[in-house]
Symmetry: C2
Subunit: 339 residues, 2 copies
DNA sequence: AGATATTACACAATCGATTGTGTGAAAATT
DNA sequence: AATTTTCACACAATCGATTGTGTAATATCT
């Protein structure tokens, strides 16, 4: 292309990169010409030759969810800093779509792939192309331990334990749980942490105060409707996400229960809404952006060959319990913008 | 590659696409072999040759915002259906970053570009590579009329007019406004719609009840603090987004004002939080996903050559006013899950 | 049977940047 | 002055799929 300015393509290519074998005057000349004719190198051709696309693939369930979009934001921030593009698809929690997405990503020859698994997924052969070719593959947040890859997640067990422990410490005696799909490891761990905390305090475990669902706002309402009508209703609830916790809380209030005095509520994720809702929701701070950043760093380290270890690592972030008004008896209903 | 099975690359390439000039038996043979050796075509090479990447670029300000992530979700849904990848970058509302992003997108040779402008942006030369090469370029939501491209947005004037009109109809007599950065066309139009509604009802316009900001939650609080301490405080507010509306509302409540009886509040966007907060927030339903879908459709139509017209079109979505409790005097504070 | 049409595939160029190797010319060395 | 070293650049192959053209082999027709 730019060889219409007298020199060979070789020279142009090398001049633009300050190659040692090109004369200084030529470099200046080429750069000037390139600038004035608005020349931009074709990344496609470069990718083909270098077998490197400078693109990282990301597969998530739904882009428009607070947690997921923060995750992506973190990934993009890191990738962009290192000159990598981010290609995104959403599996919509469908195993089939996820399969296709993985294939698409592979065909696009992304340099690495970050995945937050679809809810449906319970087999993992579709990741074989990446595994077998030793392409960087990192699972973020929604991971599976049935496949041997790098994983970045939070310590769900610990977080759930903290949350439940907190409710116990606040004097609640019959703590229920809104549990998620047990297919996903994260929700299993949250249930386990909850159960273990109860047992450690020699409190009875009652399956009747555990409600399984997909944790939507409506599921929270349904959960409240179900659990609060039991003979022995719970006097507190630990929900596996904020959305369902708020559904639960609002239904309980409509039934005339006072939060937190009669029923304590703890959520999970620290969605923006949790600090805006009144009473403010006690929840687990989930470092979504950090997880995204870390996942991206791992992938990029592998891509650049910086990372030595071939054995997959699992990075587990510690979470923080954010104690707010929904779980502390005697709290004011509104105000006190302490987040 | 797959020519290690007896035939030429030509034949393989054509067999996989059921080219007419390839024998049926050969096609079957090639496909079988390809399947069993897990052959996947290299999209990069294909892109280079066909000058088509099957990728659409998306530049937004911040990925992790309810509105933006929904926009992206819509874009991805359409692109994915037509076999296109979505490459995303976030400008972080920086003009400089947006510039770089556009260049990156161009170098990646995306087949089309969808942009929601950075708040800072007030020049548009960086889009020249797309304009001059006649690559599809569509602005979504945060558009500018200083550059001649396709645009997809909502009728901000009409929405603001409706919102203000509604407040007037509810008997509020001194309606304030939380206005956004006037750099952006959308916030100008919302201000105009607000002003026009007032004038049409022969109500006085008072700059003292208009508060300009970036519309964060804190900006909403500041706005309330400022406006409610004026000699003639507003008895209602129309905010240019939900986030600031909620900040305003909560601060007002903390000051002891009753919403909606003493002060009416209307937001903009229909963020998820708006129907969860109590009192539920009257707001404008902003079809973010639809805007994303439409923008993607326009781009893809141009890419595939379906679209005849060369003259840029502006698609303006009508919005709906969602009347909830924050603006209807005598409404109950909580409950009534009518969204 | 000979001529024409059809079928089935291979050849070779191409997309645009990259990179190892080759080669003149200028500079440095003995 | 002859030789070695350094410098500055061009040649040509390559990445892998695509595509217009060429050409055998088979089928169809008169």
């Amino acid at each position: 292309m730019a060889r219409a300015l007298g020199v060979s393509a070789t020279t142009v290519s090398r001049a633009l990169k300050d190659h040692y074998s090109i004369g200084k005057s030529t470099i200046r000349k080429v750069k000037k010409k390139a600038a004035e004719m608005g020349y931009e190198p074709n990344a496609i051709a470069s990718s083909l030759r270098k077998k490197k696309t400078n693109a990282i693939g990301v597969i998530v369930s739904h882009i428009n969810r607070p947690f997921i979009s923060s995750l992506i934001s973190g990934i993009e921030a890191v990738c962009s800093r290192y000159g990598y593009n981010v290609i995104i698809t959403q599996s919509l929690d469908s195993y089939k779509k996820e399969r296709e997405d993985v294939k698409t990503m592979f065909n696009s020859r992304v340099d690495g792939l970050i995945v937050s698994l679809a809810a449906e997924t319970d087999r993992y052969e579709h990741f074989d192309p990446f595994i077998k070719n030793n392409y960087p593959l990192v699972f973020a947040d929604r991971v599976s331990f049935e496949i041997d890859t790098d994983k970045v997640l939070v310590d769900n067990f610990d977080a759930a334990y903290m949350a439940t422990n907190h409710l116990i410490g606040q004097g609640y005696r019959r703590i229920g749980h809104l549990a998620g799909v047990q297919q996903r490891h994260m929700y299993q761990k949250r249930l386990e942490g909850y159960l273990t905390a109860l047992r450690d305090h020699r409190m009875p475990v009652d399956e009747n105060v555990i409600h399984y669902s997909k944790l939507s706002y409506e599921d929270g309402i349904n959960g409240a409707e179900t659990l609060l009508n039991r003979d022995l209703r719970p006097d507190a609830i630990f929900a596996s996400n904020d959305t369902s916790a708020i559904g639960f809380m609002q239904y309980a209030e409509e039934c005339g229960y006072s939060i937190p005095d009669e029923i304590g509520v703890v959520g999970f994720n620290n969605d923006p809404v949790s600090s805006i809702i009144r009473p403010q929701l006690t929840t687990i701070d989930h470092p979504a952006v950090e997880i995204g950043k870390k996942a991206a760093e791992i992938v990029l380290d592998k891509v650049s060959g910086k990372s030595q270890t071939q054995i997959p690592q699992t990075i587990s972030f510690k979470t923080k319990l954010l104690i707010r008004n929904s779980s502390v008896k005697g709290s004011p209903r509104g105000g006190s913008n302490a987040s």
